[in-house]
Symmetry: C3
């Protein structure tokens, strides 16, 4: 666990300096690094492409940006931190008094040493973000401002990685890759997703797992628009599982590395299988955690759970967005995330997917009275003892509730037995020909 935590932390460190946005070379560089850990299929979608209600915007790239004082000293410099420029700033090259410049400066008066993170994707603006104390130290006077950025027809970039499963039904794991130098939001999510994909590939999982690395909102919307067959009519697919290739379950990973307890935000449906699995795993663990209701604000579960798709997609965070003062500031830095926190997030994902992958509904083929387990070597032959073992009890529970309606997770929850004990009992009964899938 320490090793994998350290490995994820090292990946976060590599990605941290890059200037990411919803398009541009920062995203490409990020995906290139992730691609060293995991083969990625990278998609480039041209500016102007209609995607659902949206349009892929122009691509934004930036070479340099600074504010210099009258002596030429750069008092704010993009070279120091990608946060210093308002995301998607249009180019500017001008000299102006501080009084005029102020309208373009963003600070956090309550945290005077932190630099805020701000963007203006869809309204043409330019601006700088800086510490309040930096601003306070600036004398009145004239400043040179320069943002050497370009907004041009180009592409929106996202990437996928698929871990093939025994069935074509898919589990979608998604993380946003559009935030600049913010460690918890969302480099930790990217790192956990990367190592989760590697772990799942160790043995062929039941479901096919699709990992999506895409810019927030517009990236998820672009992916949804281009994958209608996987997600549209997903409700219908639920009625006939096994239609194949549909997204049956999903998880959005964000804020995966801070030292707070885990938070699982349920899907819009609230009783999707992924919701039940995460609740079961978190409640069954010793971890402090929170289970929260769906809200239509947050990360890309907003898109996956929009009413037309209504996918069974929840979101796993540690401290949720806007739940910590460092959120969307320069204080969400490499010190704010911890290897052991990322390892813990990864461990919960693995536990949850281990349950999801084994969660089946069976039909008891001998439903009239109990089948004679002893004859089949499934039951201790020496009767009369009061210490009925959990394993035997689990068999009785599986037999009792397997009429096709209850899943193994239902049985685990109703019986109070661990999921694993129930799944092992089901395997034994299945081998003995007493239940069928």
């Amino acid at each position: 666990m320490t090793a994998v935590g350290d490995a994820m932390y090292a990946l976060v460190e590599r990605l941290y300096p890059l200037c990411r946005s919803i398009t541009g070379d920062g995203v490409r560089a990020t995906l290139e690094i992730v691609g060293e850990y995991l083969p990625l299929q990278v998609h480039e979608v041209p500016t102007g492409t209609r995607v659902l209600d949206w349009t892929v915007p122009q691509e934004w790239n930036i070479r340099e940006a600074y504010i210099a004082d009258s002596t030429g000293r750069r008092v704010v410099d993009f070279a120091d931190s990608s946060l210093h420029v308002l995301g998607y700033s249009v180019p500017v090259s001008a000299t102006m008094p501080l009084a005029e410049l102020r309208a373009h400066l963003h600070t956090l008066p309550d945290h005077p040493s932190w630099v805020p993170y701000r963007t203006s994707y869809y309204a043409p603006e330019w601006g700088f973000c800086l510490a309040q104390e930096t601003l306070d130290a600036l004398p009145e006077g004239t400043y040179e401002v320069r943002i050497d950025s370009a907004l041009t027809d180009g592409h929106l970039t996202y990437a996928e990685h698929v871990v093939p499963g025994q069935v074509a039904d898919e589990v979608l794991v998604s993380c946003h890759v559009c935030h600049p130098s913010l460690a918890n939001d969302n480099l930790a999510g990217i790192a956990v997703a990367t190592y989760l994909a590697r772990a799942l590939a160790e043995r062929t999982p039941w479901y096919t797992y699709r990992f999506l690395f895409a810019p927030g909102t517009i990236g998820a919307i672009t992916w949804l628009a281009r994958n209608a067959d996987r997600v549209q009519g997903a409700s219908a697919a639920r009625a006939e599982p096994g239609a194949g290739g549909r997204v049956e379950h999903g998880l959005v990973l964000a804020c995966a590395g801070d030292r707070g307890g885990l938070t699982y935000k349920q899907s819009r449906r609230g009783d999707a299988e992924i919701d039940r699995v995460l609740r079961h795993v978190l409640r069954g663990s010793e971890r402090p955690h929170r289970i929260t209701e769906f809200t239509p604000y947050g990360y890309d579960e907003r898109q996956f759970c929009s009413p037309g798709f209504d996918l069974g997609v929840g979101s796993l965070c540690r401290t949720p967005y806007a739940g910590y003062p460092e959120y969307h500031t320069s204080a969400d830095n490499l010190d704010f995330v911890a290897p052991e926190a990322m390892a813990d997030t990864l461990a919960v994902c693995r536990e949850a997917f281990a349950v999801l992958d084994r969660n089946r509904r069976y039909v008891n083929l001998s439903p009239y009275g109990e089948p004679q387990l002893g004859r089949r070597g499934l039951y201790e032959s020496l009767g009369g003892r009061s210490d009925a073992k959990q394993a035997q009890l689990a068999m009785l529970w599986v037999l009792s509730l397997s009429e096709g309606e209850h899943s193994l997770l239902d049985i685990a929850e109703r019986s109070g037995l661990p999921f694993d004990t129930v799944a092992v009992a089901a395997d034994a009964l299945h081998k003995a020909g007493l239940i069928k899938a």
Copy 2:
């Protein structure tokens, strides 16, 4: 609020002295006074008319009634209070010893200075109600008793007032007008209904509001019998709202003026829209209040909620019937009700109907992913800030839950946002063409 409270109190004062019963000139005089505030359609239904399982009884009128002692002094006199005579007393003119008279005298030994309210509508009886201390002071001896009443074929009287709405579907507001000099039960209810009708007419409401001023039980039954098209098959109408002219919701007003907290008694259905609206308004307010389950005892909700009709009609009281010692006694007098209490009842009715009138189900016309609110000027264009405003959040909630199933009230309750915020958001989305009703 003080002004309207005082106005309602003044109406109660005018109505207080009249001797009302389930039929007769007392009801007519009452409706004549209410008619000065509100145009009323008065209905007269002849004695003997079959109404559901009942028959309209003979009309009862009374000129005078007294008990006089041997000196001719009137020791109990109807002229002092309409409560002194057993309601629907048959005429009597006799002289008898106190011992024999006692069988016809009703007192409240636990409250020796109070006069009880008693009636005998369907069994021919005569009697007097008096204070226990008056009775105790009577020397044995012979008394003259006289009740100059008449039970004759006549009519049962009730009245309606309609506030036309934008749709023909109706909200029924009902109050009983059959109790004599009792201020809280139900002159306060009459006054609140009167001023509620006036307030609703200030601007055309969504629903058509029908106000019913009728004697308890037999009056409600008579109205139901004569309005089968409005109420029968109302369950069916629920399935196809907009059939028009049906009673979709209703509220019985009683005991609306005492100083206790409000009590909302739910309809028999328990989850009717009116129940949800009143629960929402009362729980969302700072008022001490109680929400109680339906019981088949109480006021005319008994009739409206009888299983054949099963209307969504609840009952709003302050302290409920039989919940205070003054109930059905001479202590339910003008001191027992307060202008501010009636004003408060009125305010809750207005709040509730404001919610009911705006509570709609919409369908999101852009349900695949979020629509781009910014492009439509519905969303702050400057992203990355963590202080998402309630108004924007409300828009996301309306979009998320508007698939035709959830009403705005559902959305308000699920999101925890105020109903008004949700309704304003829905208006904005509707104007932008993103949702349809």
Copy 3:
């Protein structure tokens, strides 16, 4: 109650010494004694008969069994207690050193003076059960062991007693008769069942009550196999009650005589009518009690509630199996059960079946408004009094909720009125022609 408690205790005393098992003469002798109290139909099912997934085993009988030391002294003797022999022991006649014998000896080290109860029905074994302190006192050396038992093709024996009801639909009351000298498990259950049958016959009950005295597991399975028409498709029968002759409800009686509080274990369905009745009766009483969820471990409810049958059969115990240290040991003796405890179990069964027998659904024939109860003499004619009586309130509740969906038990629970008050009100309304069954 004392008399019936003493009578049941006397029956337990008579049955206690017999060596019962799942087959054999001990069961026959037991049923012969019960037959003195209650006419029984005894069934003998041949060895080898296929019953559901099982096969009726060989019949086991035993004449004597002992361990004798080198002096010929019997240090463990079946003549002292039927518990001393492992149930279904194969015959043995041998001399062996204690070291070798130990593998066949069962003790309870934690309760050194108690003899455990052990069986080996389906694996051919022989063995003795004895007190740990007896074992500890045995010197090393050679012992003679002898079990003069016989496993032969024979029969499995069970018995039925039917109390005919007004309808053919059945209530099954079952108790296991296969345990040797154990008083609470299950001689107390046998005694309570016996006296319950006698009590029910005092007047013709609504349902037909079928009492089953059968060995645990294999006996219940045998009965189910031979009564498919009564139990299979019982779910379907539920949809059309009155199909006749089906088991609609049932109760397994076990551990019915210890001094602990009562425990009702619900059927697999959890909301079967028998579950609701027992919950209502226990919660409405002053008795300490527990209501527990169904588990597929326990007594013969395991078989009756298996998913193919899924009967509405619960289980009533005092302290449940394995819930007391004396369970399945020689300490479950005549001192462990009490006449008053058995009388209390019997009383609860009678109360529950009194509710079950009267629990009907009615249809209000006058559902539009309230019918005029006064005209029919069902209502006090003197109105205006605030002390509405429970009986009248019960009538209003029955009228309000009788649309065919709610049972009288539903109405009692929703109204908070005692079941009996509601049932009496329903009788009155039924006589008056206002409701129909």
